[in-house]
């Protein structure tokens, strides 16, 4: 089938501008980028209809191939109205963000940053645990099983209280505390960046 380069080149330009905009931090620009992308996509669908032809209003004497393809048009019509609804929704989001945080920017996810900074030490898996030699611990007095165990390295307590995590050494208690729910070991700055 025939390919209309004009439509496609405009489409390409709109895609390029739209992508450039959605890679921005400003929510408003992201929304504008989305609108450009929607327009570009509508053009793409339109281009599949071929030559301009006649408007798809039925007349007995016209052959079916002489109309501009009505199917892409129906699809675009749907797309236009949906884009409107989505735009309105995004506007609602932008306004709400502004009311809540006085910001019009996409911020980095603090929780993700925290995860990235968290050492792999996990108290449940990695902490040293005392050796238990009874299931009836009420009568268990003064266990000193550290150096006879097969579960853990013998050594003086100062060595054992440290863990190597993420390339740096830190006290085991601190590492364990960071694993507690709700710990905020990465203090987010107002810019949303870590540290």
């Amino acid at each position: 089938m025939s390919v209309n380069l004009t439509l496609l080149i405009i489409m390409g330009a709109l895609y390029a501008c739209g992508i450039y905009l959605i890679l921005e931090r400003s929510l408003t620009r992201v929304l504008l980028g989305l609108m450009l992308l929607a327009n570009a996509t509508n053009l793409l669908i339109l281009a599949t209809g071929g030559y301009a032809g006649l408007a798809p209003l039925y007349s007995k004497d016209t052959a079916a191939g002489d109309y501009n393809d009505p199917l892409p048009q129906a699809l675009i019509l749907t797309s236009i109205v949906i884009s409107f609804a989505v735009t309105a929704f995004m506007l609602g989001i932008i306004y709400r963000t502004w009311v809540l945080a006085r910001r019009d920017e996409i911020q980095d996810d603090v929780e993700d940053l925290r995860v990235a900074e968290t050492p792999s030490f996990d108290a449940e898996d990695d902490a040293e645990i005392p050796i238990e030699t009874s299931e009836f611990p009420l009568t268990m007095v003064g266990t000193d099983g550290g150096d006879v165990s097969d579960h853990g390295s013998p050594g003086d307590p100062a060595d054992r209280a440290k863990v190597v995590a993420g390339g740096k050494e830190m006290p085991a208690e601190d590492a364990a505390a960071e694993e507690k729910p709700g710990s905020q070991n990465v203090a987010p700055t107002p810019e949303g960046d870590a540290k």
């Binding site: 025939s2 004009t6 330009a13 450039y20 309105a88 792999s120 299931e135």
Partner: protein
């Protein structure tokens, strides 16, 4: 057999109720289940040992997957069932005294233990590979739950998880192996596979079968805690001692041995069998024995002892000769008896004295001689002391391996294995002695351990097991008879080899002066020497560096996995939308672009730059591109919005030039309303639009954008060029006219040919509208806004806080003076607006235009079937009319114009559309089928009404509802926020006399 299983699982489900009613005594009731099954099992002795050789049961399960409940009890299964059910019953009885009256969660514990007995029984009688696997994993999961019984203890949780990880990892390998085996054999029935094993091994798929068998062995190795996976078993000692006695000595860890025994008759000749089974078995036996000598916890001595014995058993059972098979099962039974005894004894010691530490226990022998006797029998049997079960079994084992070593086929390895076996036995003797010494001996310098008296019921279970050990040792004939049919499976069919029973030999206390007896004597001497020289041995052991440790290897592996996971998460999970989008979009252009470049496909030949039908497209295109570029460059918020609108209007023109009048109309209306919505929503945001990304990122964005745009152009060209089929839409004109009764093909497509699409779309519209309202109002939809009659004149949007001396204040005063003149009410609620916000011209125009627009929107709706228009365009036109009313008269004007709820409109619209779809169904047609009704009306003349117009009316109402929601939320409600804030600011000002600058600037914006 399925009945036995059903009873086990049913009672397990009911167990928590029993514990609620009877407390810990419910363990007796639970014990009755395996005990009863045990009696049943004894009664099956006749049929199992009849000529048929087995009893089988097959019940259909999922025929489509070839899964069935196939059970088969042959001598091997029968012997293992003895152990599973017998020890199971005794352990449950023991539990009733082991746990305290007030212990928590006993119901769940009892249920799991009983269910475990059932699962284990199912495992040994299953005759289907997949069914076997299901029971196998069931035991793994129950073991996990049972080890982690003390869930508040970190050690229990961690050990449970470790055991689960290792055994399921092996289980997965085993599943692959089982499926390979079943697939190659063409059946999953174990008995059938074993029958055809020689053909399978020798046939063309021999290599595949060998690999499959190795994978299955991996499952057995992990389950039976063989090197290098042995460390989970000592870790699992965090479980309550009855669990250790049952799962980790008598039953579950025997599952691996069972599997080896099950496969050995057919597959012990495969390529990798002997190295794996003998090599790992021997290594495990030595490592376990060596480690057992280092432990100070008597339970851990036993645990490592079990590891050692499991390696031993694997070797014997896997050797694949008749005498080894006999010896292997004999040893299996003996081990089950003495090891369960010893664990139960450990539980009693722990329970009565509160410690299991060798260095604290002293003088227990004097406190409880009965216990010491019971334990002594067990330990002596473990060491292989004559007259006991262990001796009988071990003699046979040594006999078998002496034969093996003499066999020329085995070569020098036969001697190595025998030597290793003897060394392992020496270690076994040494740690048996260490156990007895550690648990019961008087130690100099240690105070006698306080020890509570033991109730006879508590001691009953280990005592019974000890008696059985003695009985088995003194009279091994019945055991011999039980095992012979299994050993016969290995018998050589050669004529000169003798009968199967002659090949296998017999279990007996006295075989005469054989090499095996000599080896036993050697074992005792060396074992005693090791025990009495234990201090020297300990010194030697302490020289071995600590890093040689399987558990440590496991921790390092898991730790490395954690590190890698954290590292990858940190690199990929940046929390930055920009980063994610950049990665996704880069892939989205790089991949197709590479493919297009590599494929080197020629461009299609019918490209054209200018459409001969509408050359103006070039001009409009230039405007669109300029608008888009300007939008990118704009650093003022509204300028950017305006530029995007330019592209939008340009697109509308493009639609018109491409012969799409409906699209042009709709796009034009949407673009206008979007522009208004933008202005309404963004009036509180600062005018500046800062670009916060740095130069480096901007370059990356430009590259990604350009590359993506280019990719899309070429992808579109190739895709369209590749199109060969006739478009389906060529039939649409005909369909639209004859079927849909309309001339506007696009509209008929929307409301008739593709009505489902449109229905889905208006649903999305309703959702989005609700979303907007929720974001702004948070709760409710703002339907309760008061009518304008109750609002004082000129109060809405009044400016506060303007500096009295400024020019602005003067302008404000003038506009207020003008407004105070009496004025005709052009619009209903105009008077509520503050004077400075009113515009007489706008009000007059609104007055003139509003009704015309509404009528026009109705025209568009109704004419849309034949001319450009339709529900979408009509609804948007009506929305535009409402927008004008709102802009001219404020939020109370909008309220007066639409005395309905936006949510109600959306609902009514959806309902109308849905009804127009369903009604034909009720009249005998299909969903969304349309009909053409022609009739005559006095004034209008002939009327042709198509029922799909009703659907379009629904669309119209939904669109009006959407616009109304947007206006009420982004317009009216935000207005109200402003008014509230500026009132508050004014009050502040009166109180403090100063002007809070920020607030007023915002209010002005």
């Amino acid at each position: 057999m399925i009945t036995v299983l059903a009873v086990h699982f049913t009672v397990a489900v009911l167990a928590p109720l029993m514990f609620r009613a009877w407390g810990r005594n419910a363990f007796y009731a639970l014990a009755a289940v395996p005990a009863g099954s045990f009696v049943w099992l004894l009664l099956q002795h006749g049929p199992v040992y009849s000529d048929a050789g087995a009893i089988a049961e097959v019940n259909p399960w999922i025929p489509g997957l070839h899964l069935e409940f196939a059970f088969r009890m042959d001598p091997l299964a029968w012997i293992l069932s003895l152990l599973v059910l017998g020890v199971g019953a005794l352990v449950l009885v023991y539990c009733a005294k082991y746990f305290g009256k007030n212990d928590q969660d006993l119901g769940g514990f009892g249920a799991q233990l009983l269910a475990f007995a059932g699962a284990m029984f199912g495992l040994v009688v299953a005759d289907d590979l997949l069914l076997l696997f299901i029971f196998w994993e069931l035991t793994t999961i129950l073991s996990y739950l049972l080890i982690g019984f003390a869930r508040t203890r970190l050690a229990a949780r961690r050990s449970a998880l470790q055991a689960l990880m290792i055994t399921t990892a092996g289980g997965l390998a085993m599943l692959v192996g089982l499926i390979m085996l079943g697939h190659t054999a063409g059946t999953y029935r174990i008995s059938a596979i074993m029958d055809m094993a020689p053909q399978l091994v020798a046939g063309s798929s021999g290599t595949l079968v060998s690999a499959a068998v190795v994978l299955v062995l991996v499952g057995a190795i992990t389950k039976s805690a063989l090197v290098p996976f042995h460390f989970w078993l000592p870790g699992a000692m965090a479980a309550p001692t009855p669990v250790s006695a049952y799962l980790h000595a008598a039953a579950m860890v025997k599952a691996g041995i069972y599997l080896v025994a099950r496969l050995a008759p057919g597959f012990s000749e495969t390529a990798y069998w002997q190295p794996v089974v003998l090599g790992l078995g021997l290594a495990t036996m030595l490592v376990g024995g060596y480690r057992a000598l280092r432990q100070t916890d008597i339970k851990l001595i036993l645990a490592y002892g079990t590891v050692s014995q499991l390696g031993f058993l694997t070797m014997v059972v896997g050797l694949g000769t008749p005498d080894a098979a006999l010896a292997g099962l004999a040893m299996l039974l003996a081990h089950g008896l003495f090891k369960a005894t010893l664990f139960l004894v450990v539980g009693i010691i722990d329970h009565q004295s509160g410690t299991r530490d060798v260095r604290k226990l002293s003088g227990v022998f004097r406190s409880s001689r009965a216990l010491a006797v019971v334990a002594g029998i067990g330990a002596a049997s473990m060491a292989g002391v004559p007259l006991l079960a262990g001796f009988v079994a071990k003699e046979s084992v040594l006999e078998a391996f002496v034969h093996h070593a003499a066999d020329p086929e085995a070569g020098p390895w036969g001697m190595v294995v025998l030597a290793g076996l003897v060394l392992g036995s020496v270690l076994t003797f040494a740690y048996s002695a260490r156990f007895m010494w550690g648990a019961f001996a008087n130690k100099p310098g240690v105070e006698p351990t306080p020890f509570k008296a033991i109730s006879p019921a508590f001691l009953a279970a280990p005592a019974i097991l000890s008696l059985l050990t003695i009985g088995y040792g003194l009279w091994p004939v019945p055991v011999d008879a039980w095992i012979q049919p299994y050993a016969a499976l290995f018998a050589s069919p050669a004529a000169d080899a003798g009968t199967p029973a002659e090949q296998a030999g017999h279990l007996a206390l006295w075989h005469g002066l054989t090499p095996a007896l000599g080896l036993t004597a050697l074992t005792f001497v060396l074992g005693l020497a090791m025990h009495f020289g234990r201090n020297a041995v300990a010194r030697l052991q302490s020289l071995v560096p600590a890093w040689v440790d399987g558990d440590r290897g496991y921790q390092l592996t898991i730790g490395a996995l954690d590190d890698v996971a954290v590292w990858i998460t940190g690199r990929t999970q940046r929390g930055s939308l920009y980063f994610y989008l950049a990665v996704i979009l880069s892939v989205a252009f790089a991949l197709p672009l590479t493919v297009m470049l590599l494929s080197g496909k020629a461009l299609p030949d019918n490209l054209y730059l200018v459409d001969p039908g509408s050359p103006l497209q070039i001009v409009v295109g230039a405007v669109i591109v300029i608008g888009a570029l300007a939008a990118v460059k704009a650093n003022k918020r509204f300028l950017a919005v305006l530029m995007v609108s330019v592209t939008g209007y340009g697109i509308a023109l493009m639609f018109a030039l491409q012969s799409a009048p409906d699209l042009a109309l709709t796009q034009m209306l949407v673009e206008t309303i979007v522009l208004v919505a933008f202005v309404l929503a963004m009036r509180s945001l600062p005018a500046e639009l800062r670009d916060r990304t740095g130069g480096k990122y901007r370059v990356a964005r430009v590259i990604i954008g350009l590359a993506f745009g280019t990719t899309m152009v070429f992808a579109a060209i190739y895709a369209m060029g590749a199109r060969v089929a006739t478009p389906v839409s060529l039939q649409f004109p005909q369909l639209a006219y004859e079927g849909g009764g309309g001339l506007n093909i696009v509209n008929v497509t929307l409301v008739d040919i593709r009505a489902w699409d449109t229905f889905g779309e208006i649903t999305v519209l309703a959702l989005a509208a609700t979303g907007v309202a929720s974001l702004i109002f948070v709760r409710g939809r703002g339907d309760k806004i008061q009518m304008s009659a109750s609002v004082a004149e000129g109060t809405v949007g009044r400016r506060h806080g303007v500096d009295p001396g400024s020019r602005e204040a003067a302008a404000l005063a003038i506009s207020r003076k003008f407004a105070s003149a009496t004025r005709d009410a052009w619009i209903v609620a105009g008077r509520t607006l503050a004077p400075e916000r009113r515009s007489i011209i706008f009000e007059v125009v609104t007055r003139l235009v509003f009704h015309s627009m509404i009528i026009f929107s109705l025209y568009l709706l109704l004419a849309g079937h034949n001319l450009p228009g339709g529900g979408f365009a009509g609804g948007l036109m009506a929305g535009l009319a409402l927008t004008i009313r709102y802009l001219a008269g404020g939020r109370f004007e909008l309220r007066e114009a639409t005395p309905v709820s936006a949510g109600g409109l959306l609902g009514i619209g959806l309902a109308v559309a849905a009804l127009s779809g369903i009604a034909p169904l009720l009249l005998g047609g299909q969903v969304f089928q349309s009909a053409i009704v022609e009739f005559w009306l006095p004034v209008f003349g002939d009327i042709k009404f198509v029922t799909s117009t009703l659907f379009d009316i629904g669309v119209y109402i939904v669109v009006v509802g959407l616009v109304l929601d947007v206006l009420r939320s982004l317009g009216a409600e935000i207005d109200e926020h402003f008014d509230e804030r500026s009132m508050a600011a004014a009050e502040d000002e009166e109180e403090t006399g100063s002007i809070p600058a920020g607030t007023t600037v915002e209010a002005k914006a």
